[in-house]
């Protein structure tokens, strides 16, 4: 049953092909096969958001997406957030605000926060906290993360 299947997708703007088993999630493929280890595995059941990626621009938990589902779709991972010019404002502001300690949750937070700012450039603090409720951090207590997102939003609006 179920040999390997060929998938063609776009990851961070580049066309990517891989072989996978139907039972594999895209998180497994990203980390173990494509060496895109910036996306982290946390709970692996959709509670912690550490594995957040953008699927066709929408933030999703990659642990709950089958690899075969992304055939013909577009993905963005944390590796695709910075540009040739440098860090994304969210990444810069996470550094400046020290909005991380152990760092495992950080890629997921940045990807989710990017999805928020892409659709809502000037969110309230309450909105940021609600939108990021699917990303858990057990170190910082969230305040620094929220301030980093607010600061990044301000910088991006000026740009």
């Amino acid at each position: 049953m179920s040999g390997k299947v060929h998938v063609t997708t776009k990851i961070n703007g580049e066309e990517v092909e891989f072989l996978c088993e139907p039972r594999q999630t895209i998180l497994e493929i990203l980390r173990d096969q494509l060496n895109l280890t910036g996306t982290k595995e946390g709970c692996s059941n959709g509670n912690c958001g550490a594995c957040s990626i953008l699927l066709n621009g929408k933030v999703v938990d990659s642990c709950l997406v089958m690899a075969l589902e992304v055939d013909g779709q577009e993905l963005t991972t944390i590796e695709g957030i910075a540009s040739a010019k440098g860090l994304h404002p969210l990444q810069q502001k996470f550094l400046e605000h020290a909005a991380l300690q152990c760092g495992i949750c950080t890629p997921g937070f940045i990807v989710a926060a990017k999805a928020l700012l892409d659709s809502e450039p000037n969110p309230s603090e309450e909105r940021i906290r609600l939108y990021l409720a699917g990303n858990l951090c057990r170190c910082t207590g969230y305040d620094k993360i929220v301030r980093a997102v607010q600061d990044a939003a301000a910088v991006m609006q000026k740009a």
Partner: protein, 290 residues
């Protein structure tokens, strides 16, 4: 996860053909937020996963002012609550679908999955039930429809028979002077499972003083979401007052048959069924007046 095959058919007929004679070992994949977690935990073992998101009928969301709203069963929660017609005509559906999990989950989890998973505490059914939702089902014997409140048969059990799939959920066209509201109680601010939930639908008289007709539904207080007809009757043809709203709340408390578990006790849930019923009615009346 055990090994399985994968198919992504493009029509309802193709899905039905795949389901034929393969009872219990095929799983339909929409958002995957329940299914993939269940497979990882070993709570389900399957031989075939069928991604239903390539089927236009299951992924369409269509509104018509005369015929109402048809939501394909695989439409995600965020596609529902971001839809301008849903926001304008069915705000209770926005209430129900925006409560489910995180944004990450809402971008994947489908309303059909929320129904088929049949959790007693599911967030979307009370709103759909009070709005007069109908489940549109396809199977080997053809198509059939059942009222949303009849879709739930017990925790994790739905009304689908062998070989059947939930194609879509239909809501009737919105009526003048009507409003609906859905809410839940959780001890946190978000990302939680309802201790209890409730939804109300009211149609008011032209002068907004009388409730012409009403429907009340409650959840997480019985093995299935419940349409509380006695609560609706307590409000229908009555002048709006605290007394009639309290009578409806009493009917919800009487209908609630909850269990005690880690989320709440029997007493708390019965109390909440009443409180949430009142809040849902007041919210629905406010919206009907808008």
């Amino acid at each position: 996860m055990n090994a399985f095959d994968f198919a992504a058919p493009k029509s309802v007929d193709e899905v039905l053909a795949l389901l034929k004679g393969r009872n219990g070992e095929v799983a339909l994949l929409a958002g995957g937020s329940d299914l993939i977690a269940q497979l990882k935990e070993g709570r389900r073992k399957i031989q075939l996963m069928v991604d239903v998101k390539k089927i236009p009928e299951l992924t369409a969301l269509k509104f018509d002012a005369k015929s109402g709203l048809t939501i394909g069963s695989a439409v995600s929660c965020s596609s529902i609550y971001h839809h301008a017609d849903v926001q304008k005509h069915y705000p209770a559906l926005v209430d129900g679908t925006s409560l489910i999990g995180s944004v990450q989950i809402q971008n994947r989890a489908s309303i059909g999955g929320n129904f088929c998973n049949a959790s007693p505490a599911a967030d979307s059914p009370p709103a759909v039930i009070v709005l007069g939702g109908v489940c549109q089902i396809a199977g080997p014997k053809g198509r059939r429809e059942i009222p949303a409140e009849q879709f739930f048969k017990g925790p994790g059990k739905n009304a689908l028979e062998s070989g059947e799939i939930l194609v879509s959920i239909h809501l009737p066209a919105p009526k003048a002077q009507s409003g609906a509201f859905s809410l839940r109680f959780i001890p946190r601010n978000e990302m939680d499972i309802a201790v209890a939930n409730a939804a109300a639908y009211v149609e008011l008289s032209a002068d907004h003083k009388t409730i012409v007709t009403a429907r009340i539904a409650i959840g997480a207080v019985a093995p299935t979401p419940l349409l509380v007809t006695a609560a609706g009757s307590a409000l229908s043809d009555k002048t709006i007052s605290e007394e009639v709203i309290e009578a409806a709340a009493a009917a919800s408390r009487a209908a609630a048959k909850p269990i005690s578990d880690m989320r709440g006790t029997i007493e708390q849930r019965i109390h909440l069924a009443g409180v949430l019923t009142k809040r849902a009615i007041n919210g629905a009346i406010l919206r009907a007046k808008e």
